[in-house]
Symmetry: C5
Amino acid sequence: MYLARIIGRVVSTVKQDTLHAIPLQWLQPVDASGKDRGTPVVAADTFGLGPGELCYYITAREASIALWKLDVAVDAAVVGKVDRIDLGER
Amino acid sequence: MYLARIIGRVVSTVKQDTLHAIPLQWLQPVDASGKDRGTPVVAADTFGLGPGELCYYITAREASIALWKLDVAVDAAVVGKVDRIDLGER
Amino acid sequence: MYLARIIGRVVSTVKQDTLHAIPLQWLQPVDASGKDRGTPVVAADTFGLGPGELCYYITAREASIALWKLDVAVDAAVVGKVDRIDLGER
Amino acid sequence: MYLARIIGRVVSTVKQDTLHAIPLQWLQPVDASGKDRGTPVVAADTFGLGPGELCYYITAREASIALWKLDVAVDAAVVGKVDRIDLGER
Amino acid sequence: MYLARIIGRVVSTVKQDTLHAIPLQWLQPVDASGKDRGTPVVAADTFGLGPGELCYYITAREASIALWKLDVAVDAAVVGKVDRIDLGER
């Protein structure tokens, strides 16, 4: 999974049938220091997170597990909200 | 899923049998500011989108779900057209 | 799928059993302007394309669909030859 | 699989149901010389490794094999701790 | 598949159960000119190749096909040794 910050919501009316009623977030992956890293991703989000919140998301086939339906045409889904990261000191 | 702008159509007569009658678009992935980002992708498109339109596409095994046929040799497919992106302010 | 130009053929006698009799091409992915982009890929090719030809290939699990055999140890396969790309003007 | 150094632990209370009781580590992939390389990854870890330890992890569908449960919404999991790497001299 | 040069062997005693008795190589992917390219990879190798040898490897789910066991927690495996690459001239 990767960490990302939610930067917006994707509004789409013309879409593949299995995607109806699945909210799509626009995520910016971030690195350890919280800086943007790599290409933003469109991901399904059933947690209703808001902009600015830090989450982690899964990709590929696993994404549909997050929706409890294996036949949904998604390849990225938010699976949790990050409370904090405990950085090690060793 | 990733956002992309449609930049053209791939014309191909010699192709794997399961690809017949599946329109192939040439997509340029874009980032949050609409700028090109990363390598263009060849994706199946059953929506008939035109050049310049903004869409999002899925990759890998999920792509064939978008075509309702699991035995098609595709690994990328357009699954929706973007109306707009609501950027958060928080 | 990604566009690529065929740059050579990989000759290999010691290989995993399911790969016997499967021709392996050496592909250089290209971007919209035909320039090299990213790492070259070794892909199965049942079309017998020659060096310099433009093709598109699929990756991961889908690649074995292209060979009509799901138990082959490949993760990349040529699935078509590009005749031309119609670039949009909108 | 990729090599990575454990840099912290991801604490998350709001998460997808199948992730409950699965410890999530924050990993920094490293290259041959031990230098950071690429985006940090959130991975399941059932070994209880500590910060600074070197491990290798798998990604995508394979990750859930590491947890002995195929229906878990993870796409990255630690599968071993690195004792040492014997570099070749040829 | 990608080309890579074997640069070492990963020694690991604490590892996921399905990985026991599976030799793990440390591979450096290379480009068309033989130069290092991208992040080194840990891959299963049942051919017993030595350091410096050129091979090609598969990734993701396909990797376990190379081991003839679908329930092994690997996502990369060597599937052949490269004898030579015939570069095209067209």
